[in-house]
Structure formats: structure tokens, C-alpha cells
Symmetry: C2
DNA sequence: TTTATTAAGTGTATTTTATACATTTAAAGA
DNA sequence: TCTTTAAATGTATAAAATACACTTAATAAA
């Protein structure tokens, strides 16, 4: 930082949140319909300006809570976007974060207030500014992260079936996985506890529910390199 | 971004560069000794404020060129640091980038002007502000990147020996690699061209020099998962 | 000219991990 | 009791990672 502080331009700094949820075997994004200028009426990521007493992690957390009512959510910084004209009103740089939430947990009332909606990743509307680039990058980071840590569980309810977990990974990696190989791999990670309980909604036979073993889960660092193919 | 623009605080935005070089079988960082306030006389990353007509990628590139004289350098955004008190003079958020340069290429004169020096990663001095956290994060990213793309070549001279390449990877991963397995792996990637020429400085026998095949190199996406152990 | 020294160069066997693939089972509903 | 549906399960093959030690080329010293 070679130049004197006093001569420099000050800028607006914002955060934007790419909010991932998983529902109906699909990855989804929570988007808001802007009821304010600029770009009123168009779809965008939820965002907010950085405040004086917080860092961007905290800002992202606050913004997320404002929309979903949730705290202690998994959040990870993705990238900072800074093209001079990315915001037409005034130069604003934005730090993008992605969040993973259990789609059933959020506060429906708040969502309604913000005219927010869940969109399937495969059917996203056009987004304002550079928000589509943000989503792209978040998706890449999520893919990477899910291959290195058992991050995916953040997106599932507390109890879930093997098939749900598999579908989640399939959605994240955007490829089909053989179910026998998947189960083999997951079991070798030793982060799941099989419950007595069954989920009876998906089939007549019912399928066993699992929880993750919090301690092992937190400790684990793994490479989930689930291959191609088959059902 | 729900709040009106006009009510928001504007902030200083800077970039800081973690500049990696490779020399003498070691990874090194180029640091500057500050001859300006605050923290005059202490070691820090090279940085600079974001200007009106550039994005942070361009700012990092400019800052890097100012210190090294180099352009078209490999640069990658690492993370944005934003704690309210990270800069004691005035709130400044900083976007950290890491750069990979061939340590022989830089402009010695410019380095001298900035009182900059190369430090072995294992013997870094204390750094100002949150610069040590920046270095840590850059190191992690470099490790990851090097395992996924043949990024390491950016740090070597145009012609290099297998052993140099191996030492580079050992420095990045901070672990020893078996040389036979390493060569096997590298050859399977098919990004190198073996030259007739030998480097005679390292041994009596001399060792063959290699170049990378630019096209194959650019095209390749690989997982270099070089194991543990041995000489 | 012989011998010693030094790092370069090379190949194989073993283990681990990833992949491909099909049948049986449990429960409900007809 | 028969049909339907998704759940559950195991093995053989292929690919990748790992462990490991001797020979070679050149120079320098005796």
C-alpha cells in the first residue's frame, strides 16, 4: 500500500449470498425479487452493504439471517467481484459467499416478505449485475468442497436415507453414481450412524434412516471421488 | 442490497500480493520493507489501493508489475480480508492475490527501490496486519491448485530438470516424493518435452533438461496425487 | 589409467482404490 | 397370494498409487 490513504477513493462494499438448498432430488437457489431500485422487479442474490462494525463473514451471516431467519449456517467466501461498472448506481465491490441450508428450516414468512423463491439450478432466471458469474463460481467451489469434506450433510435434514444422500451428491457433481459403489464409499468414511427407523414415504419396503456422527464428521477429511455411471 | 446506497459508508479497498518464487529447492516469498507509515520498517506484502478504472485483478497485476517489472504473470485471487480494525489508520478491506513468478526474471533495480527481499517460506519474518493469515491461505490455495493443474511450471525457468520439478512439488506439498514414482506420474501427463541438452551444474553425469509443451500444458487438467516417502 | 565419487536414470511387484454389473428382499396394495 | 416398487447387497476386474535398489555416466582424484 504505497499511496497515501488520504488521496484514495472510498467505495461501497457489499456481500451477496448464493444460498443453496436441496429438495426433491434437486439443488436449488434462494433468490429474491427486487422491490427496490436499481433493477426493481428482477431476480437477484440476497445481499447487503458491509457495516462499520462487522467483517464480510459477519455481514454475509447477517444478510442470510435476515432472509431465512437462520443462524450458524455454513458459509464460505467465494470471490470478490469488482468490475468498475458492475453496479450502475455507484461503484460497489461485492464479496460473494455461498451458504448451505436445510431447505425445510427457513422462515417462510421472511421469505415472503422479501419476495424470495427457490429455483432449481437448472431453471434459474436471468440475474442482475454479475450475479450469474457469482453463482457459477459458487457452484464450482461447492463441487470442490464436497469432494474434499463431507460438506453435503449441511443440506440434508437431520435424518436422511442413503438414497437422499446419493441424490444430493449426484446433484452437486451433476453426474449419476452407482448406488452400490456410493454406499461402499460412504461407509468407508465412517461418518454415518444407521438408525433403527425407516422412512416409509419413498417405497413400500421403506428405507433406513441415517444420521451423521458429529465427531467423526467434523474430524474427517476425505476425497469423495465417486465415479460415473449406472443407476 | 436492501439499504439505500446513500446512507452507506464508503471504504478503502486494497489488494495485497503473495508473490511466490522458487529457488535453491525452496519456495520463497517476495516481501517489502515498509519505508512509509504505518508500520514503517516492518515487513509486509506488496500492496496498493484499488483505482477508479480497474478491478482488483487489474490492481493486483499493476502492483505486481510495479515491484517486479513483470507482466502477464500468473495471479489468482485468494480471499478478501475485512476485519474492521485490520488497518490501524483507517478501515481498509484488502483482496489478497497470489502470484507465481520465475525468481530469476524480476527486475533487481525495482526490488531494491522497494527494499524488497526474498524470504524462504520456512523463515518468514513477522508481517504487519493480517498478512500472515493471507500467506497461509495463499499457501493452501497453491497446494490445491498444484494438485489439480500443472501450475507449478510457472515457477520454473523455461528449461528445467526433472529433479528441479520434483523439488518444486516437494516444496509446495511439503513432503518428499519418490523420484521414480514422480517421473512416472509426470510422464503420464504428457506435458513435457525432453531436450537433448543437459544441465551439468548439478552432477558430474549431468541431467537432461525439459521444457513443457505449451499446448498440452494449457489443455491439461490433472490430479497430481504424488504420494509419500523415499528419496 | 585406474579408482572413487556423485547424482542421474531406470522397472517391477504389491497394495489400494475405483469401477462395472444383477439379483434378492421387504412391505404394501390389488 | 400375487403384483409392484424401491431397498439392499457382493464380487470380479481394472486402474492407480506405492514401495523399493541397482546400474550408469561423467568427473575428479589417486
Amino acid at each position: 500500500m504505497q499511496n497515501k490513504y488520504s488521496e484514495q477513493t472510498r467505495l461501497l462494499v457489499a456481500v451477496d449470498c448464493i444460498i443453496f438448498g436441496f429438495d426433491n432430488d434437486e439443488l436449488k437457489l434462494l433468490l429474491i425479487k427486487r422491490d427496490f431500485e436499481p433493477e426493481r422487479g428482477r431476480w437477484s442474490l440476497m445481499g447487503g452493504f458491509l457495516q462499520n462494525d462487522e467483517n464480510t463473514d459477519q455481514a454475509a451471516s447477517r444478510v442470510l439471517q435476515k432472509l431465512t431467519g437462520l443462524h450458524d449456517v455454513y458459509l464460505e467466501q467465494v470471490n470478490t467481484f469488482s468490475n468498475p461498472n458492475r453496479d450502475p448506481v455507484e461503484r460497489t465491490i461485492s464479496v460473494a459467499y455461498y451458504a448451505l441450508i436445510n431447505i425445510l428450516d427457513h422462515d417462510k414468512e421472511l421469505i415472503k416478505q422479501h419476495s424470495a423463491e427457490w429455483f432449481s439450478l437448472t431453471e434459474l432466471p436471468n440475474l442482475i449485475f454479475d450475479h450469474e458469474a457469482m453463482v457459477q463460481m459458487a457452484m464450482h467451489r461447492l463441487r470442490y468442497k464436497a469432494s474434499v469434506e463431507p460438506i453435503g450433510f449441511e443440506l440434508l435434514p437431520e435424518k436422511f436415507t442413503m438414497r437422499q444422500l446419493q441424490k444430493l451428491y449426484e446433484a452437486i457433481q451433476n453426474q449419476e453414481i452407482d448406488k452400490r459403489n456410493f454406499i461402499k464409499k460412504i461407509n468407508s468414511l465412517n461418518v454415518l450412524v444407521k438408525l433403527e427407523e425407516k422412512d416409509m414415504t419413498s417405497s413400500k419396503k421403506g428405507s433406513f434412516l441415517y444420521q451423521f456422527d458429529k465427531e467423526k464428521y467434523d474430524a474427517s477429511k476425505f476425497l469423495l471421488n465417486v465415479g460415473t455411471l449406472d443407476s
